[in-house]
Amino acid sequence: MKVIRRKARSKSFEDSASSIVKTGLEAILVDLGFHVVDFSFEKILADPDFRRLILESYANTDVGRILMEAPDLFVMHKKKEPTEGVFFIKIIALSRGAKDKTARLTSEATRVFDHYYPNDRIAVIAITGDEMSPLRANWLGKRSELPLSKMKSFEEFIKTDLQIEPNHEFLATFNKELVKMYRPEQRC
């Protein structure tokens, strides 16, 4: 059933937001000296017919889930220690006006990350739409949900967890755009 929903649904606000943030994050991370590659299902399996076959016949298999639930980005820093500078990124977009301030993974993604990924090297980046802190980040670890209140601002995450001085101007511009995206009435 989940497969049919995934196939049938049109691109939601959350999908669009994730896609925009993925592009923006790539630019921010490259600016900080990271190499970044899109690691999503659509990119790691280039053949659309084969992807369709997985969605139709193998979505409920371990192999299918590993591929379908792949994180959004894989990043490597050339100069940092490999144990610190190499990780995956999973982007979670909260819906517009969401009351529940928690970044949640689907049960399928939780299972895949828990069984098959070094989950202490998956950074969850939540798009909150909140004016003060539109992007929040934390390492996933063995969790399936992260309350936004316990996550760091993305800027702080870069500084404390990646040990890199963020480009404040670049981030401020990006954050402004994210807030606009969540509040379309502010658009000129």
Binding site: H35, V37, F39, K43, I44, L45, A46, D47, F50, L53, I54, S57, Y58, N60, T61, D62, V63, G64, I66, L67, F74, M76, K78, E81, P82, T83, G85, V86, F87, F88, Y116, Y117, P118, R121
Partner: protein
């Protein structure tokens, strides 16, 4: 000293790429759908990352290893729906047997396998083996290995069913006469021939003509002689022993084929 052509890493890589290609075609001819996976696909537009991840220091990162050693292919046999119809596959080639008798003795002793034969000893990079076991479901990762010094020539098995009998703990291997990369040894003789594997796992009846053609091609692969660590006598003694079960193998001597050998022959004739 002139070595065999396959000593070069690039030649070995080319051989593996060619085998992966011919294996993909073989599987597709038998109704198995194949899709490229692994670093070549993931980094197809990021050559800088492809080079970066090969650096030794990234062996310390589990995330980097997971990506670096992701299997070559994802395969699906649409006749079978669900778990049993889809799997990862890594295609490998092995053209370097263990040359040193004392190392085989040591493996027999450590693994408590007194009957272990030279042709049954396969080698897989240790970090790759760990990735297949930790970051993928080992019962759904198949290794298909082509090997001219193994009587079955091409074997296939699930990682979960492959018998690993030795694991190098150090980070360099100086004893087997191979490349020195840390490895695990697997029992090739206990792996199924590719046709048996495909038949028993998927009910696929392999076309024996194309299977024979694949095996015949593997028979022609030259055994690699590790540069500097194995001398020609040790090389040819190992070939003599292997010829008992793999009669297609050929002895070789330093003056064969190599243009530098021909040049030195020419120079000595002139003298």
């Amino acid at each position: 000293m002139p070595e065999t052509k396959m000593t070069s890493f690039l030649n070995r890589m080319k051989l593996t790429n060619e085998f992966t290609e011919s294996l993909s075609k073989f599987l597709q001819d038998h109704g198995i759908r194949v899709c490229g996976f692994g670093t070549e696909v993931i980094f197809r537009q990021k050559s800088s990352m492809s080079a970066l991840i090969k650096k030794e220091k990234f062996k310390k990162s589990a995330a980097a290893l997971m990506v670096k050693f992701s299997p070559d292919l994802v395969c699906a046999y649409p006749v079978i729906k669900g778990e049993k119809g889809i799997f990862f596959l890594d295609a490998k080639t092995s053209i370097t047997p263990v040359f040193f008798g004392h190392h085989i003795e040591r493996l027999r002793r450590l693994a408590k396998l007194p009957e272990l034969r030279r042709e049954d000893i396969g080698e897989i990079e240790r970090e790759a083996w760990d990735v297949y076991n930790q970051f993928y479901p080992p019962e759904r990762v198949a290794i298909v290995m082509a090997c001219p010094y193994q009587p079955k020539l091409v074997v296939g098995e699930w990682v979960s069913r492959i018998f690993q009998f030795f694991r190098l703990k150090r980070d360099r291997n100086l004893e087997a006469g191979g490349s020195g990369t840390p490895h695990v040894n697997i029992h090739l003789g206990k792996m199924r021939s590719l046709d048996k594997f495909l038949n028993e796992e998927f009910g696929v009846r392999v076309n024996q003509d194309s299977y024979r053609a694949m095996r015949d091609a593997i028979k022609t692969w030259e055994i690699s002689k590790s540069a500097g660590t194995v001398n020609w006598t040790q090389f040819n003694n190992a070939i003599t022993e292997l010829k008992a079960t793999c009669p297609w193998l050929k002895h070789r001597w330093p003056m064969q084929d190599s243009s530098s050998a021909k040049l030195s022959q020419f120079t000595s004739d002139q003298k």
